[in-house]
């Protein structure tokens, strides 16, 4: 089970934020196209950063606590999952705050009117 430590933390993040989607109706997973388009550039850029950091030795991993699956560039699969999970949880938190507080963020259909006012 030791090799699942890293993904267990990621799973905890996803499970911990799941109630937001259900109870607060954040509708992040429900709007999966928007989710995909928002997260994809982050994954690409930060995987690039990770590959550079790995090649320069900025950080190293204890593969004994990761799945052990390595992608090209010695990139652990766990890291790619990290770059998907973290932005997803951030969007869920953002939509949860919006659901609770109702503050405008600038993407409301009527935001044009807000600007005129």
């Amino acid at each position: 089970m030791r090799h699942l430590t890293y993904v267990a933390v990621l799973a905890g993040c996803l499970l911990g934020t799941l109630p937001l989607e259900i109870v607060l109706r954040t509708r992040v997973y429900a709007r999966w196209r928007r989710w995909l388009l928002a997260v994809a550039p982050t994954v690409v850029v930060f995987v690039g950063w990770d590959l550079y950091a790995i090649s320069r030795g900025h950080w190293t991993y204890d593969l004994g606590r990761m799945t052990g699956i390595l992608l090209p560039g010695d990139l652990p699969l766990d890291e790619v999952l990290f770059f998907v999970v973290t932005p997803t949880c951030a969007i869920l938190a953002f939509e949860a705050v919006r659901a609770v507080r109702g503050w405008r963020v600038g993407d409301e259909p009527e935001s044009q009117r807000e600007r005129v006012r």
Binding site: T5, Y6, V9, C13, G16, R31, W32, R33, R34, W35, L37, A38, V39, P41, T42, V45, F46, W49, Y52, A53, R56, G57, H58, W59, T60, Y61, D62, R65, M66, F83, T86, P87, C89, A90, I91, A93, F94, A96, V97, R98, R101, W103, R104, V105, G106, D107, S111
Partner: protein, 100 residues
């Protein structure tokens, strides 16, 4: 480039995405800062696990040295860049009518 230099560049890049490139200006929104504060707390918890358990180790020459919850301060900049750029594109997509 060191992790420190890259992390600073990452923050600058994310701020430029939010203010100039996508013009979402989340940095002026309470929703953004409240969400960031929540994410930051959980980032410190997750980072503490990853770094405290030595799952991720950092080259002392690539970082400044100060650590928060076991993790180098650079990780906070890294996280800020990732969260800010993602939320900016999320809001930009919504503004552009990508709503499903």
């Amino acid at each position: 480039m060191s992790y420190t230099q890259l992390a600073v560049l990452g923050v600058l890049g994310a701020v430029l995405v939010d203010t100039v490139l996508l013009r979402t200006w989340l940095l002026r929104r309470r929703t953004y800062w409240t969400a960031y504060a929540i994410v930051l707390f959980f980032q410190l918890v997750a980072n503490g696990i990853f770094t405290g358990l030595d799952i991720v180790r950092y080259d002392p020459d690539a970082i400044l040295g100060p650590r928060i919850a076991y993790a180098p301060v650079e990780d906070l900049l890294f996280g800020f860049a990732m969260v800010t750029a993602t939320l900016s594109s999320w809001v930009w997509l919504g503004r552009r009518g990508v709503r499903t």
